[in-house]
């Protein structure tokens, strides 16, 4: 018995398998306070247990550091060969990520989570390799020491005096599914150290003596335990809604330099302990913008904050405190964390105090940080850099002096001062602060030298001129500062303006695109001049393979990685950094729609705002591609709808065109056969004609029904039906043909109602009974029975004829197949195919076989559902005597 319906159990199993495929691997971290506590050993021990449980375990990479204990533990486990990477003439053995992904074990062991890969590897960090393994659905065991955790890095450094460079972002550790703390009391660790059983990496080995003091070991142990405890705590609270409530999020004001870095780590730890989200912002003051060094440092700090789980922003504005207060209030952030360097004199209001004054509702937390190291100010270098400004300051001063010399004959000295101030203003507006300051000083000096008596001398006769100089210098400097600031702000504003305009232009141009090719063309045309560099686009085809669509040649391997992972890669990123271009995904709301690549110029990638602008552009392009995609989908749907309408139209036209002549033929033939004027032989012929026309009509009906069913035009009109009734109407339809065959019925009176389409089910029975008539000699019975089974209703139609040839029980349901190939029996084998199509549409089955006592047996099984409420039983009418 074949069933064309999918088996639900099998479906479920497939579904589960799909789920498992899509499932992300689980990460287990063996966490220790220090090297030598036995993390690797513990990891291997557990791997052995899992392997015994039947798990496919692969050792991706384990550093034995030639310790016998550990090496012995490797016995019995499959070890993945390392990949040789040649770097600066040295062959280095690294973890082979691609081989591991290809091998796809259930569990892989990769030691030392914090390891940095050799340059030229896909990812610079091992934890990124592990992320990819997890994403591929592979479980990973790994090890890490407390000092490698990014947020604790400085604390450990502070305790031990040794800073390790290799760090792991805390989110990697926090998102691990399982943390096992491997602990060893300090005394035992020291003993193992003396026995030489502990391997020490690079700089720790050098600082062995200071590092392995018992005090340090205790502190590290406490730190590790506390971190692990925080993890457990977080796990306990995992059921609670993620993220912090409004007003609980911390806002860290990040300054450039080490002070900012300290604050980032402090706030990260604080947020972790409070279990709240945090944000890190740096206010982009004109002062910050002027210093490339400070700006770069601020960006580094923000990147660190991002890696520690913060949302970051670079906010433009003239006053730090004002911007902070506004941002905190706008985003409903309750607490502002501000670093405060030690100051000798507290004359000026601190940033923290100013924030507190501007927004009294905020909680301001002050963290002591080291003073920012003074920027090396080399005035000559600065003047040298801005020689043009300096020249103009000199020129301006000289020209003002000459002009003023002429005018002093007419004007008062006070007006001469005004002239100098004007030149300071012009110079500072045009050439900035340094030129302005220079101009101020020169102006005062020139005024003193040339105009204040005694002239041509810096000596001053009247002491009250000293006050004049003072005020003049102050005014000039203030003026130069203010105008320079104005100039900076105008510059920033115009840069933003340009970005906004470019974005607007891009989205406007894209909004008109109707095809993928147009989107590509517009994107390249708009972005290439804006970024003044080479661009390329790659889009996926229907088979999810990326193809170059325009612009410069892309490395499709890198593009493919970006497309699959939806993350940026290439130059300036943490993935495949050796690529010559920067690749970013075109992410749209539904999915990634393609990849954009561009060759970064200069330190462009360091400019967060430019990068964000590019990301916004990419999102715009992604959105346009998605829109175009859905337009295409909608069009295809419309086309297929149109096709269906046409098909239905055609079907009813054919149906009409075929039936009309049949109707006319039958009418005329039957008229002739009943006509009293026709000769008896003619009437007999007419009667035969009538029979043949009816047969042809049956065939046409079957053909059209089949066509309708296959065109999907038939909607089942299910209703609760009595089997007896549909059997009755089928028999009546075949009344004439059944004349020579007795019908044996076995239908219990108490059969339940079954839900089916009565018209179609009648077609099934008519075809089955007709079949029985066709293939059996006259006088043999047709046997029709029905039975209610627990879940189904079974109807059988049987005859006592030759039966179905063995091996054809299934093939007779195919279209145009007949039981006896060379028989003279009329009819194309479409009837059974139609029966199967109808029964299958009802969710039932139809099978053919032979009765044990001989003759064909067709069994129709229909599903039984809960029948509707039945009417209340009634009393009989009273017996009225006639």
């Amino acid at each position: 018995m074949t069933d064309t319906r999918p088996d639900p159990d099998q479906l479920l199993a497939e579904l589960k398998a799909d789920e498992a495929d899509a499932h992300r691997g689980r990460l287990k971290v063996f966490f220790g306070a220090n090297a030598g506590v036995g993390k690797t050993w513990a990891m291997l021990a557990q791997a052995h247990t899992r392997q015994r449980d039947g798990v496919d375990v692969l050792v991706g990479l384990v550093e034995t550091h030639s310790r016998e204990e550990t090496a012995a533990m490797l016995g019995g486990l499959t070890v993945l060969p390392r990949k040789e990477i040649h770097y600066r003439d040295k062959a280095l053995a690294e973890f082979d990520l691609d081989a591991a992904l290809a091998r796809k074990p259930q569990l892989i062991l990769v030691d030392e989570l914090a390891h940095s890969n050799v340059a030229g590897s896909r990812h610079p960090k091992r934890w990124q390799d592990i992320e990819e393994l997890l994403a591929a659905g592979i479980d990973v065991y790994t090890t890490v020491n407390v000092q490698h955790l990014e947020s604790l890095n400085d604390v450990v450094g502070g305790i031990t005096g040794v800073r390790v460079r290799e760090t792991v972002p805390d989110h990697v550790f926090d998102s691990a599914d399982d943390i096992t703390l491997v602990d060893l009391p300090p005394d035992e660790l020291l003993k193992r150290l003396q026995e030489g059983k502990v391997y020490l990496p690079g700089n720790i080995a050098r600082a062995k003596e200071s590092f392995f003091r018992k005090g340090n070991l205790i502190a590290l142990r406490e730190l590790a335990m506390r971190r692990a405890a925080e993890r457990v705590d977080a796990e306990l609270r995992r059921d609670q809604p993620a993220g912090s409530k409004p007003g609980e999020t911390l806002l860290a004001a990040i300054a450039p330099g080490p002070a900012g870095e300290t604050l980032v780590r402090h706030t990260a730890r604080l947020a972790g302990r409070l279990k709240v989200d945090w944000r890190a912002v740096t206010v982009e003051t004109p002062a910050l913008l002027r210093s490339k060094y400070k700006l770069a440092s601020a960006r580094r700090n923000l990147e660190l904050a991002e890696s520690l789980g913060a949302r970051t922003a670079l906010l433009p504005g003239p006053h730090v405190a004002q911007v902070l207060a506004e941002y905190a209030l706008d985003h409903d952030l309750g607490t502002v964390v501000i670093g405060k360097p030690p100051r000798r004199f507290n004359i000026v209001e601190s940033q923290a105090a100013r924030v507190a004054r501007l927004a009294p509702s905020l909680t301001v937390q002050i963290v002591g940080v080291s003073a920012a190291p003074a920027e090396r100010l080399d005035p000559w270098a600065m003047i040298g850099q801005r020689w043009q400004g300096a020249v103009w300051a000199l020129l301006g001063c000289g020209m003002t002096t000459i002009l003023a010399a002429r005018l002093t004959q007419i004007f008062d000295l006070a007006n001469v001062i005004m002239l100098y101030l004007l030149s300071v203003l012009l110079v500072s507006v045009r050439f900035g602060r340094v030129a302005g300051a220079l101009s101020s000083l020169l102006s005062v000096a020139a005024f003193d030298f040339f105009f204040v008596p005694p002239r041509m001398s810096f000596t001053v006769a009247d002491t009250q001129y000293l006050l004049t100089f003072g005020i003049m210098l102050t005014v000039a400097l203030t003026l130069s500062q203010l105008s320079a600031r104005l100039r900076f702000q105008a510059q920033i504003a115009s840069r933003r303006e340009r970005r906004t305009a470019a974005l607007y232009e891009l989205s406007e141009a894209l909004s008109g695109a109707l095809m993928k090719e147009q989107v590509v063309e517009i994107a390249l045309a708009q972005l290439a001049p804006r970024f003044k560099t080479d661009l390329g686009l790659a889009l996926p085809d229907l088979g999810e393979h990326l193809h170059q669509e325009g612009g410069m040649a892309l490395d499709l391997a890198v593009a493919d990685w970006v497309y699959r992972h939806g993350e940026e890669a290439g130059q300036g990123t943490g993935t495949l950094a050796a690529a010559h271009a920067f690749y970013l995904p075109l992410t749209a709301p539904m999915r990634v729609r393609g990849v954009l690549a561009l060759v970064p110029k200069g330190d462009w990638l360091a400019d967060r705002e430019e990068k964000r602008f590019l990301q916004t552009c990419a999102a715009q392009i992604g959105l346009a591609l998605e829109r175009v995609h859905f337009v295409e989908v909608a069009q295809n749907a419309l086309v297929s709808m149109e096709g269906e309408r046409l098909r239905n139209h055609l079907l009813s036209a054919i149906s009409h065109d075929l039936r009309t002549p049949i109707t006319v033929l039958l009418g005329l033939a039957s008229t002739l056969s009943e006509s009293p004027y026709a000769a008896p032989p003619a009437r007999e012929i007419a009667q035969q004609l009538v029979g043949e026309i009816r047969r042809m009509n049956d065939l046409v009906n079957n053909l059209l029904d089949m066509a309708r069913l296959q065109a999907g035009e038939v909607r089942l009109r299910r209703d609760w039906q009595a089997v007896e009734e549909v059997v009755g109407s089928s028999l009546r339809a075949l009344e004439l043909r059944l004349a020579r065959h007795p019908v044996e019925l076995d239908i219990p009176a108490d059969l339940p109602l079954v839900e089916f389409d009565a018209v179609l089910m009648e077609r099934v029975l008519v075809n089955l009974i007709d079949n029985a008539i066709k293939y059996t000699p006259a006088g043999t019975p047709v046997i029709i029975a029905a039975r209610a089974l627990p879940q189904t209703l079974q109807m059988t139609v049987a005859d006592t004829g030759p039966g179905i040839p063995p091996g054809q029980e299934e093939t007779i349901f195919n279209k145009f197949t007949r039981g006896q190939n060379e028989s003279a029996t009329t009819g194309v084998g479409l009837g059974l195919a139609l029966c199967r199509a109808i029964v299958t549409a009802h969710g039932g089955t139809i099978t053919a076989g032979n009765r044990p006592e001989g003759g064909a047996l067709f069994t129709v099984t229909l599903p039984r559902h809960t029948p509707p409420a039945m009417p209340e039983p009634e009393h009989l009418l009273p017996d009225i005597a006639p």
Partner: protein, 232 residues
């Protein structure tokens, strides 16, 4: 003579079918008029004072249903609908809109004549007055509300009796599920077609010799039921 001939209007776009129908009707002593469109048919139905109307549901110029409703607005003339198989929904809609019976294409001359006779007789005036109806060996006295089969009293429930009486009232022509439910159970039950299946089953068990091969209480699949007074 002409005045006594029943008048038949055929609304059919296929001339061959129309000719065969006219021929049959004329041979049975009727006067026929032919219209090829619904519009023309409406005019004929309004002007010829027909005793019977035959309407093809597949007219090219419009919905036969609308035509039935329009005719029903001014006339009680019996309407026989011609339709193709697999148009059960259309048939039911036509019957519920006011058509009296249907005939599925293709049909023989006898089927057509039988339908015409039933409809003309019904129109001539309803049922004999003595209230006595015979279905084979089943005797129903509508006045005394008694039913007997082969001389033995048959006990029906009130609903079974009402169902039977309704079927007798529409004897010879098809009656849709909806019409039966409406007349027997009431407007709240028009969706409860499974009630009909149950009670029709009971009636057949009590009145038919072979319930699965009924001779009088016939099923018209997908449309309704038909009571055949005498089996031919």
């Amino acid at each position: 003579m002409n005045a006594q001939k029943p008048v038949l209007v055929i609304i059919e776009d296929e001339p061959q079918i129309a000719r065969f129908v006219s021929m049959t009707a004329e041979s049975a002593g009727m006067q026929t008029w032919h219209a090829t469109t619904a519009r023309q048919g409406l005019v004929e139905a309004g002007t010829r004072q027909p005793d019977l109307l035959i309407l093809d549901l597949g007219l090219p110029d419009g919905d036969g249903l609308d035509l039935i409703r329009e005719i029903r607005a001014f006339s009680e003339v019996p309407i026989l609908v011609l339709s193709a198989r697999s148009q059960e929904t259309d048939k039911v809609a036509a019957l519920d809109a006011g058509a009296d019976d249907y005939l599925t294409k293709p049909f023989g001359v006898n089927e057509l004549l039988a339908r015409l006779r039933v409809l003309l007789r019904r129109h001539a005036k309803d049922s004999p007055g003595d209230g006595q109806v015979t279905l084979g060996d089943v005797e129903i006295n509508l006045v005394a509300r008694t039913v007997s089969k082969a001389g033995d009293a048959v006990h029906l429930t009130p609903i079974e009796y009402r169902l039977l009486a309704t079927m007798i009232r529409h004897a010879g022509k098809v009656i849709t599920h909806r019409q039966l439910l409406l007349e027997v159970w009431g407007p709240a039950y028009v969706e409860h077609s499974h009630y009909l299946r149950i009670y029709m089953g009971h009636l057949r068990q009590k009145l038919e010799d072979e319930p699965a091969q009924p001779r009088h209480l016939l099923t018209e699949s997908g449309v309704g039921y038909r009571l055949l007074l005498q089996h031919n």
